[in-house]
């Protein structure tokens, strides 16, 4: 089966610009996650969707970050405006269901904010 797809793989922007990332989960996976992985750290959950509803966005900086999952399939994560500290790898993952279900990760988008 096809894995989790993400694009773009790399993005370089200047601070205060906007950027968007796209994720296509594994077909049939109801749960979708966005993680932020800063260099030298483990992934930190930003937001979790169950179908097209938000389950957990407690760690999402809502003043600048937004995410949506229209129709319960693809998802986009947006940063507007970007700050230097947003430089990180943004990982998308999906699972059949939450809880003990294995999460399958995409290759990530490496964002550099100058």
């Amino acid at each position: 089966e096809a894995g989790v797809a993400q694009s773009p793989r790399y993005k370089i922007i200047e601070k205060r610009q906007s950027v968007a990332f796209w994720c296509n989960p594994i077909s049939g996976h109801a749960t979708l996650y966005w993680y932020q992985q800063i260099l030298g750290q483990g992934p930190k959950l930003l937001i979790q969707f169950q179908n097209n509803g938000v389950v957990d966005d407690s760690q999402l900086p809502k003043d600048r970050f937004s995410a949506e999952r229209l129709k319960g399939v693809d998802s986009t994560l947006k940063i507007q405006p970007a700050k230097l500290e947003d430089s990180a790898v943004y990982l998308c993952a999906s699972s059949l269901r939450g809880g003990q279900g294995e999460q399958f990760f995409g290759p990530g988008t490496r964002l550099t904010v100058l």
């Binding site: 750290q41 483990g42 959950l45 957990d56 809880g99 294995e102 290759p107 990530g108």
Partner: protein, 112 residues
């Protein structure tokens, strides 16, 4: 809320030597435990997981881990490593509410 501590940020070993990557967790409830591996410029791949039952869990690529409830540990082991095992390894804990927390990672470097 649960948390994970990976005790070693870097572990260098020689090829064919045994290795142990240490992981301790804290949680007030029953947990699920995971080890993921991340190769350069790739996403995370599940190595193994503990959900319940036997405390010794076997995973892919010859890795295994032992859940120790009294010591709140979930150390990852491999009896003989290969160059190809060079990667970043992440321990993660999830409670039954599906809130997964990752450790900071351990970089395993296998030298010839």
């Amino acid at each position: 809320a649960q948390s994970v501590t990976q005790l070693d940020s870097q572990v260098p070993v020689f090829e064919e030597a045994p290795v142990e990557l240490r992981c301790n967790y804290s949680s007030s409830v029953s947990v699920y435990l995971f080890w993921y591996v991340q190769y350069p410029n790739q996403g995370l791949q599940l190595l193994l997981k503990y959900l319940s039952g036997s405390t010794l869990v076997k995973g892919i690529n010859g890795f295994e881990a032992e859940f120790n409830k009294s010591q709140t540990s979930f150390h990852l082991r491999k009896p003989s490593v290969h160059i190809s095992d060079t990667a970043e390894y992440f321990c993660a804990v999830s409670d039954r509410t599906d809130d997964m927390r990752f450790g900071a990672g351990t970089r395993l470097t296998v030298k010839p």
